[in-house]
Amino acid sequence: MTATLAPAREPGSPAPASSRRLAERVFRIREFGIVAVLIVFVAVTAGIQPRFLSSTNVQFVLVDATIYALLALGETLVVITRNVDLSVGSVLGISAFLSARLASQAHGLPLPVVFLAGLGIGLGFGVVNGLMVTLGRVPSLVVTLATLYIIRGIDVLVVGGTQVVPSSYYPSFLSMSKATLAGVPDLAIAVAVLVALGWYALRTFRSGRELYAVGSNPDAARLAGIPTGRRVLFAFAISGAIAGVAGVLWASRYGTVDSTAGTSYELQVVAAVVVGGVAIFGGSGSVVGAAIGALLLQTINSALYVLGVSPNWDQAIAGFLLILAIAGDRFILVRLTASLRRRSARRGA
């Protein structure tokens, strides 16, 4: 937390980098902050219980975190536009069941087709969410709270009392979530690449920057001629599609799928996004931060387990971290605003 003031700008120097560096530093701090917490947590836990760093445990944590990080990637796009998608857990659930059934009944099917099916299901729900928010002008909190229950209801109707069991899959469906490359799960690598691509796209393409613009000041975005409705619809569509893909991964990871798969994931995902430094009122934050936030929450879960702390503490600690993240966010924003304002004042504007 070093929002120190850079030295006063010298007259005549065009576009000094000092305040830019300040702003960048503070934005990087958001991600640095959680990385630091993550490292401390891992170090302390490993110090007490070295088993925490066993390759099996690390792999378990990474695969679990991967699913949340993937969901957080989609959620971040939505939150950046000053919206929220609460239906991701339900979308994951229904996609997990349908893709699992596909994988257990059509053994000849290539894996990509299963993924496409999951993606298609999620995309469909995402578009529905997006249309209701943009065309219906209903707040996304309400829309996605409704679809959370509706999609879960459909899931329960479709699944009934049945479940898909691991023995029924063709083997490659289960093994894909176990495969590793130099000790790192393939899935984690794939999702890390996806997150990196998302980060790059949001920084580099006009439509990506426009998502931030819409969230930062919706009225100004409209005046700037940005198709705000289309951008918000896009964010929801991607969030849904990603939740669909995450469902396939979930089925592969846990094997047994019933109608409760992914229940209350939405809250963990929103928590990860906020802990990761994405402003809940839109306009700032990065998918990398959100992914690290997901990893942090998952690490804490695992650490508490390894340390023998009752799992009852899990949620309380996650909630505490959330408050900490929001307070930190607020603190940085206030400091940043104050220092930028002082700078303007000193310039004598």
Binding site: R9, R20, R203, R222, G225, G283, A338
Partner: protein, 532 residues
Amino acid sequence: MSDGPGEGRAAGAAGEAEDAGAGPGAGGARDGAIPVLALEHVSKSFGAVRAVIDGSIELFGGEAHALLGENGAGKSTMVKMLAGVHQPDGGRFLINGEPVVLGGPADAIDAGIAIIYQEPTLFPDLSVAENIFMGRQPLRSGRRIDSKRCIAAADALFAQLGVRIDPGRISRGLSIADQQLVEIAKALSLNARVIVMDEPTAALSAVEVARLFDVIRALRADGAAVLFISHRLEEVFAICQSVTVMRDGRHVLTAPLTGMSAAELVRAMVGRDMPERIPGEKRAPGEVRLKVERLTREGVFTDVSFEVRAGEIVALSGLVGAGRSEVARAVFGIDRYDAGAVSAGGRRLRKASPTSAMAAGIGFVPEDRRQQGLVMEMSVQQNVALASLSTLRKAGLIRASAERSFASDWAVRLSVKYGQLTDPVSMLSGGNQQKVVLAKWLGRQPSILIVDEPTRGIDVSTKADVHNLLDRLAADGIAILMISSELPEVLRVADRVLVMREGRLTAAFSQAEASAEDIMAAATGQVEAQAQ
């Protein structure tokens, strides 16, 4: 699109531009020419409010045109029609003589119209350069944003404007002046044929204004049309060649500025029949009820001192944004202030405490009655009783019968027109809603009443009702502080008129000396006369 933004139209010409068009040349340039852009007899209503009734304006390439009018004359609505934000209900929108329909802001931008809004419209979380080029960022291969060129182009624009703003910093925390300069840079980056500036100078320093004028001259030299809206008449004379005046949503006059005097323009802006005050109701003010001493809130208002006596109506006049409502809010304790003191009935009030203000007998009728004055879903009766619940309570419960008789009593005294006392207040007309807000505060029997724009959006006959009511209240010995942007109202109702400009009191008039021209002149900074 995107042929190197930043090489603004004005780039090369800045500085060396001759002010050739200022004289008769301007008239000559437009003989027989087709206006680049014209609105012909346009109208626009929002619900029952007719913001523009019959507006016309013509803009010619190479000319800076001023649009003048009082607050509420319809200027900002005209701007929003030019921006494609609002579509006219009637009339024609012509570009180069061809009728067009702008579906939205994007269409206006494509048509080469750039708008600098009165209120800056920035993205606080994004960098200054991104704010300027949002949606139009320079690209490199693969449709990727070229952020280096983006920064460089922003730097070039700021160099052209002669200001130093770091394009890489986020825009949160920029001063209002810097925000305005970013808006100006944004408009320049569009290479527009028509540039609309809605009060661009309100927040700028003299040096920055001079720079902006250089830029406007360069734009003109390059053939762009500029629409310049400002309350500062000296600026209008300095930079514009022709003028259109609007009043009450209607076009009043369009003329070249050469040969016009400031007094003529003010008269055109104000010129309507002043309702006469009924003679013989001269009130003799009593003791001082409200005393405001050297009240200051940094950056909002400075060193404001005045008194309001019992039985006296004092009007606080001035332009929108002069700080009048802010002073009232600070007096009532809604906002805090940095220095100074407020006392009511000889007792000093606690800072930022509406409770303390209410206990001292102050009532406050806010500007925005729908948001701040009424609970729209609640009944007429409940709204009237809302501020007096403590007196209508028995054992902690509100007695419906007491509430009812209290409300009907006040409704009769203020001649509120309603169907049933139990109807939601949203069913009443604007004027009757305002009477309900007044009734709500009068029910507390205040000794001091602050009313902010008491007749905004109210029809003429109800307006007269409200004016008569204020007269009666003053006659009953209440001290009234009224904020009003309508000069006829100020002249009709007030015993004394205080004028604010840019956060300071600039003039004070007694009822006998007050004239619309003098008040307008003090509000726009034409003279700094008779202060305090």
